[in-house]
Amino acid sequence: MLDIANLHASVAGKPILNGVTLDVPAGEIHAIMGPNGSGKSTLAYVLAGRPGYSVTDGSARFEGRDLLAMEPHERAAAGLFLGFQYPVEIPGISYLQFLRESLNSQRRGRGEAELSGGEFIKFARSQAALLGMDTEMLKRPVNVGFSGGEKKRAEMVQMGIMQPKFAVLDETDSGLDIDALKAVGAGINRIMRAADKGVLLITHYQRLLDYVEPDRVHVLTHGEIVRSGGPELARELEREGYAEAAA
């Protein structure tokens, strides 16, 4: 489903990804683990098309389409979702307005009918409730005044609303207390665990993987995948550290 081959990318002229090769078939959840500075977030941003992250070699295909040739909004309409490590604050725009505009833009891009205000609010409320987010928060400006945990929960509400085919989740578990971690884990399973969907779960720690069992675990170091294995690899990393496991 997501097919990355020999991907090289640099930021401000500095090479960060040095030949990442990775294939995530439909129906699978893959975890990418690695130390700070290994290129995990860069990989996420490159897949979503953040300006300033330039691909110097290699390819990334999504359902057979050249992902790297698409604009960020086209990737979203094609079904790709990026869960941000640091969700962005947008004063003056309510979450409801932001999400309705986003969803309807995607629907227009796919030639589907737009949702009316009423339909959208009902849908957004139900998704927020499923993640234990106070629906009043949807009236507030995007992420403004949200705690770290609330922002991450809100990212998952967004994912529930967008119903993407594939999610790249960049350290969605950081800054979460145990209850939020459980809610987010359950959200990922509910929204994304399906035969026709896929997830790339970028994380630092094993703890989210207690709630979202990955099919495969990859270790990213110095911009390359140095080891791959089953779920047991995550536990080994947790036990022995990256230096040991990656050696």
């Binding site: 300006p51 604009e71 909004h73 947008i90 004063p91 932001f98 986003s102």
Partner: protein
């Protein structure tokens, strides 16, 4: 009697488009006076009209404990000027929330003179400008705190977004303080849209034009949050923004 035609040598007219103003000066020259009695409240919403040149000159006198709030959208196609002279007696409160939205060769400006005459007055002026093309958006704001107007709290916040290289924002706060126990703050910034906010919106499916329009809307729409009836001015601001994004 018509007031004398201004000159750019006068500080409060230094960025004005006097050439455009001249032919219509007579009809605008006399200021409108509004008086808000002790403890009373006034809320005004000022929308742009369709004329090329629009000038609004208002004197607002706030009695003791009176509250005056003005929400103003300045979006004239050629020249728009909103001129306010406010006086505050003891404990009076004044708030101005204004937007300059300009395109082409237009000039839109706020020129205010807030005079704190009594004790414990509070004034808050918030101006946001969104400008493209070669448009000019200005704020010239004078705050005077009279001798004895202790515990005055005056605030000026001015921000501008320039969408094109040719656009200009001017901001000129001026303080004249004759009391020693007062708080007068002012802040100004001129910027462009935040790239990470744009990317966030685009990553959710908005095309770049929609994302820009939404972010600019957010920049301006926060001004009307506290209006009793924000709908009309909100919609007018949205329409003005749509013309320039």
């Amino acid at each position: 009697m018509t007031a004398p035609f201004p000159s750019r040598k006068q500080e409060e007219w230094r960025y004005a488009d006097l050439e455009s103003l001249k032919p219509v000066w007579e009809q605008f020259a006399a200021p409108v006076t509004l008086t808000v009695g002790d403890g009373e409240e006034l809320e005004e919403i000022w929308l742009p009209v369709s004329d090329d040149v629009q000038l609004r000159r208002v004197q607002l006198a706030l009695g003791s404990g009176a509250k005056g709030r003005i929400f103003a959208l300045n979006a004239a196609p050629v020249y728009g000027r909103i001129e306010l002279e406010i006086s505050l007696e003891d404990g009076a409160e004044f708030e101005l929330f204004g937007a300059n939205i300009g395109t082409g060769l237009s000039t839109n400006e706020f020129a205010t003179n807030v005079r704190h005459l009594g004790i414990g007055g509070r004034s808050r002026q918030t101006i946001r400008s969104v400008l493209n093309g070669n448009a000019v958006g200005s704020y010239l704001g004078k705050v005077e705190v009279a001798r004895g107007a202790q515990k005055t709290d005056a605030e000026q916040s001015v921000k501008a977004m320039l969408l094109d290289r040719g656009a200009t924002a001017n901001c000129k706060p001026e303080l004249e303080i004759f009391a020693d126990d007062v708080k007068c703050t002012h802040g100004a910034s001129v910027g462009e849209l935040d790239p990470i906010q744009l990317f966030y919106a685009e990553s959710r499916g908005m095309n770049p034009a929609t994302a820009r329009a939404l972010l600019l809307e957010g920049f301006v729409m926060g001004l009307w949050d506290t209006a009793k009836q924000p709908e009309t001015i909100g919609e007018a601001a949205r329409q003005s923004l749509r013309r320039i994004v």
